[in-house]
Amino acid sequence: MNSMNNIEHVQSLMKDICSPIKENIIDQFQIAYELKQDDIHKTLGYLKNAGWIQLSYLSAVDWPDTNEIEVVYILMNWKKPVHIQLRTRIDRENPVMPSIISIYEGAKYYEREAHEFFGVKFPGNPDYEKQLILEKWDDMPPMRKDFDPRQYSDAHFVGREYSHDFTELNNQPSKQAKRQQRKTRINSLDKGGK
């Protein structure tokens, strides 16, 4: 059985399960679906019985513009080698996604990590609220788009300060300073040299 047939096999399977919002074929070994949140558990359970027994990846993507968080599941079937991406969008203010550890046991730690970095809640996972990677974290979940690590780093960790002659080569003004000078010169010329 060649691999294009595998993609068609997935398509025919998905037709029976639910109606995806979006479908796109990435290449001959990968297909992506966007689903409604309610369909996720049904689809995962069905696909697991159909041979997609391995959960390769679970994570989230933050979309602050539309105020949504996208949860991503990637499944793998070794007998019919196709990766299936399943995505669903949930509310960003109160992100709740019921856990899938009853279907895929391996999701336990992925969910803990997604909670830690995106703040997604996974009811059903016994200890999703425990901190896994970070320790004593006191700010918003760090992978959210509005978190600025530079700002946090400047506030908490003092950097090294270099004296002036390290940062400027041969006492020449830096490129940025030159550019700034030129800009002010142009601006002043616009106003008649003042």
Binding site: E135, K136, D138, P149, S153, F157, V158, G159, R160
Partner: protein
């Protein structure tokens, strides 16, 4: 037969002489603590094993902090590691030296804007020798160890004394970054 004239030495001078003798032996048999904190540790196995053979410098790996002389901070330090590093450093018996590897220990390196990696190691623990590079290759690592030996000889590797003298300053910095130095987790309760 001429008699050798001994000048009376003060206790301080005698102590210093003993210390010099101690330093001679110390710098020729440095035990480094096997704590690989970051990615520069990957250049240690070639240095330790037959390719570069660190033991010809008299250096060898040691398993426990209490018997080790040198703490190698190999690369970036996240807050979680820094907590454990301070634990480890305070357990080591004096005199003790720290070698900082890679640009991450100097100024944060490629992770200078990360939300968990500290930028300057010498604010939290005293550093004797830096080995620059990302990552420093094995020759640079070996050269760093030779530099450390020279510094011990010329009595400039006095990081542990600085840690004593400025203990409050170091503690203040540690608490500023970490909140609390003590490890509190599920396991330690």
């Amino acid at each position: 037969m001429k008699s050798t004239k001994f000048t009376e030495l003060t206790q301080e001078q005698i102590d210093r002489k003993w210390w010099e003798i101690g330093d001679f032996f110390r710098r020729n048999s440095l035990w480094m603590l096997m704590y690989c904190t970051g990615c520069c540790a990957i250049e240690l196995p070639p240095a330790m094993t037959s390719a570069y053979d660190m033991e010809r410098l008299g250096m060898g790996p040691m398993a426990t902090p209490r018997q080790a002389d040198v703490l190698l901070v190999t690369g970036y330090l996240s807050l979680k590691t820094l907590r454990r590093l301070i634990y480890t450093y305070e357990q080591m018996s004096e005199p003790k030296y720290i070698v900082g590897f890679g640009s991450c220990t100097i100024n944060g390196g490629i992770y200078h804007d990360s939300h968990v990696v500290i930028n300057r190691l010498d604010r939290y623990v005293p550093v004797d020798v830096y080995v620059a590079g990302c990552m420093p290759n094995t020759e640079a690592v070996m050269n760093g160890f030779v530099d450390l030996m020279d510094l011990i000889k010329s009595k400039k590797a006095d990081g542990w004394k600085r840690y004593h003298d400025n203990y409050d300053w170091y503690k203040k910095n540690q608490e500023e970054a970490l909140g609390e130095v003590r490890i509190k987790d599920e396991f330690h309760e």
